[in-house]
């Protein structure tokens, strides 16, 4: 519960002087994401930089230091019947706010309630020059200057160290209920998309093992009437189901650690490719998890990318597989150059998380 930003800044300035690369660690729960860290990097730990800086329930705004554990945020919000609407996966008790934004990880409600990137209002960060900078703010709307805050989403800390994050938070829905339907993957996709086009309080749509799960959240009367109209079987312990989906604790995710887990982010209506492994569909079709076979190599990655592109999106090797090779969707050359230059604009000496996102960054 303290502010160690000046220590962090000092460590970065020293590292810059010595050209010592740094590995940014939040809670360390998402070490499996991104590429294997290249050797010789010194740890820059955010764990000590934690605590809620301000929380105004009536303003729907919360500001916390980047090392604050998500569970601490959730507890504070809970007292006011509010929530992090992007439902961040809590991979373990130490997962932090900074790591969540850096990884741009959002849960099942993402298509309806927005992603962590959507809810970010402002940040403080330390760039590779050791400068502590503030972008955005603590208000809902702010278009002064470039949106450096949201730019950080997905950068995996390659542009700098987040020290503080301001978020828009939302009231918890007063009621929620989950309906289950028997359906094959193709049929489920079609239903999910049709239901999402209706003005009903849909807040989750997932398919797994021949079952389609639709979550409704909102005013009690709206949830009840929609449930009556859509049919399906009510799911008991629904909250546990969505939480396990969010935290990747469903048996689907408990595969052998060598088994590669691919994450497809695609057009929600795209057909499911016929492959040997297993699929889990989330985000109303827009996010799909594919559990591949042990020993998949670069040729398989190229094939996955081809499938993702055909589905209008991208794929990344979320976990397992060969993590010394590229794990994110490859970028055309012009985009590579742009991203390298952007990295340089923030971190000219390449101090932060070298090679974590792409080998060329």
């Amino acid at each position: 519960m303290s502010d160690i930003s000046s220590q962090l800044q000092e460590q970065i300035l020293t590292a810059a002087a010595e050209k010592q690369p740094l590995q940014i660690v939040g809670g360390g729960t998402k070490a499996f994401m991104g590429r294997q860290i290249e050797p010789g990097q010194e740890i820059l730990s955010l764990a000590g930089h934690s605590g809620i800086v301000s929380y105004h329930p009536v303003e729907l705004v919360l500001t916390a230091r980047a090392g604050t554990p998500l569970i601490e945020l959730e507890a504070a919000l809970n007292e006011h019947n509010q929530m992090l609407s992007f439902e961040p996966p809590v991979f373990g008790e130490t997962a932090t706010l900074g790591g969540t934004l850096a990884c741009n990880l959002s849960g099942p409600g993402r298509p309806w309630w927005g992603s962590v990137r959507d809810q970010v209002l402002g940040i403080k960060m330390i760039n590779g020059l050791g400068e502590h900078l503030r972008f955005g703010g603590q208000v809902m709307k702010n278009v002064a200057g470039y949106d450096v805050s949201r730019l950080q989403a997905g950068a995996l800390g390659t542009l700098g160290v987040l020290t503080e994050v301001s978020l828009k938070v939302l009231p918890k829905p007063s009621d929620s209920r989950t309906l289950v339907f028997e359906a094959g993957a193709d049929e489920a996709l079609s239903i999910m998309n049709r239901r999402a086009a209706e003005p009903k309080p849909l807040s989750g749509a997932c398919w797994l093992d021949g079952k389609l799960y639709l979550r409704l959240s909102g005013a009690h009367s709206a949830v009840a009437s929609t449930a009556g109209y859509w049919g399906g079987k009510p799911l008991e312990y629904a909250e546990d189901f969505w939480q396990q989906l969010r935290d990747q604790q469903l048996p689907f995710f408990n595969a052998a650690s060598e088994q590669p887990l691919w994450r497809f982010s695609v057009n929600p209506t795209a057909r499911i490719p016929r492959l040997d492994g297993r699929w889990l569909i989330d985000w109303g079709g827009a996010q799909r998890w594919y559990l591949g076979q042990e020993g998949q190599g670069p040729a398989d990655k190229a094939e996955m990318e081809r499938l993702a592109a055909a589905a209008g999106g991208q794929v990344s090797l979320f976990r397992g597989g060969d993590r010394s090779a590229e794990v994110m969707h490859s970028q055309p050359e012009a985009m590579q150059r742009l991203q390298q230059r952007l990295k340089q604009a923030f971190d000219p000496d390449g101090l932060f998380n070298r090679g974590r996102l792409y080998s060329w960054m």
Partner: protein, 500 residues
Amino acid sequence: MSQAETTGIKRNRQALAERFRAFIDPEYVISDDETLKPYECDGLSVYCEMPMLVVLPETVEQVQKVLQICHAEGVPVVARGAGTGLCAGAMPHPEGVVLSLAKFNRILEIDPLARAARVQPGVRNLAISEAANAHGLYYGPDPSSQIACTIGGNVAENSGGVHCLKYGLTVHNLLGVELLTVEGERLSIGSEGLDNCGADLLALLTGSEGLLGIVTEIRVKLLPTPEVAQVVMAGFDSVQTAGDAVGSIIAEGIIPGGLEMMDSHAIVAAEAYAKAGYPVDAQALLLCEVDGTEEEVHEHIDAVEALFRRLGATSVRTSHSEEERARLWKGRKSAFPAVGRISPDYYCMDGTIPRSQLAHVLTEMDRMSQAYGLRVANVFHAGDGNLHPLILFDANRPGELERTEEFGAKILELCVEVGGCITGEHGVGVEKIRQMPKQFNEQELAQFHRIKAVFDPDATLNPGKGVPTLRQCQEYRSLDMNIEPNAGAAAQHNGRCSHE
């Protein structure tokens, strides 16, 4: 500008125009002063500048060639949508080319099942919702200028509207864009999926005011049209109470589709103009729109009405038909022209504040209003803290525009002081560049310049907008130190029009 310079530009103008006419319909390469004139400003007409040339290409290849030529010649390029911007963002550069995207007005695809549309940048905001309507869908962000403004301009400004609190800004409603860099290189940013690998470049480009690249195609999300929307109007005898009521609605767990506030000046002006039935004796008026399923709307409307009454609203009225709803909104939506009728000119500001600071900010503004001898009417996107003070003035009175600008600048500084920002949705452009150093320090501004250099190292895309150079900042500081309060000594900006 000196005679010699002007002659130089005119010579370049003809030579460049000829090169463009080789691949663009000659009619769409404008080089005569009379036809150039309408392009001299955007919606903020106190800033204007005649461009060297205006081009209206019709294909991406043509835009690409224009950019390649301008890049090779070091000629500034200013993108332009409908020119409704309110920060002089599309104001031309005297030695530059205005690149109008007006011919890119086609909706390329509507995918009702995926709830997305692929559109060209010159498509009008409202046209997207009109086209999607047949599928029970619409495009979320609805700036008051939506009949005229383009989606390309919306992307460049990250525009908002009265429904932002619930449905987000432009940045929340985009999936991807096709971009041309200053060199004319094509980039695809985003995808048909919701998230993409790596740093979020789509967010960086949204709101970048035409400084980083030219948007040539946009993929937007579409939302299902709510079954029902109803609006509750309530009058209050103090701004503080109305502000508290806004907080109480949120505390109740209700996120209204729209939540707008007007002060007494704005109420009176709007009522005179729109005859919406507003309580003209109220000090503040709230419009709270609830949308969703029929059941949900009933539940929430009851709660909102009860809450307003409990908090001492002096009048409460709820719309019971679409017609009535439209009438209640009409006053708010025509607030700008309504204010235009009670004053020869008005100047619209765009600060954002934490809602809890509303009463304090309005009191301070009242004080300044008296000190400057200028009236202010306030309309407020109360849900998300975005304040639009409209300063009433008469440009024909010597010095009054300068006093207005100084007053406006003070309002923005006040917004920053209370934890807000200088612009919520209209952008910085030329207009607020002077206030950027109030919100950002030199290191932050330098970081912005390094970002700009990644995309546009020679700074030929929309030069002089958005981010002040460090030299400008030093000039502002020395001006600030010499400035006498209320003396009407506002610094002269580049491009300020003379009003003879």
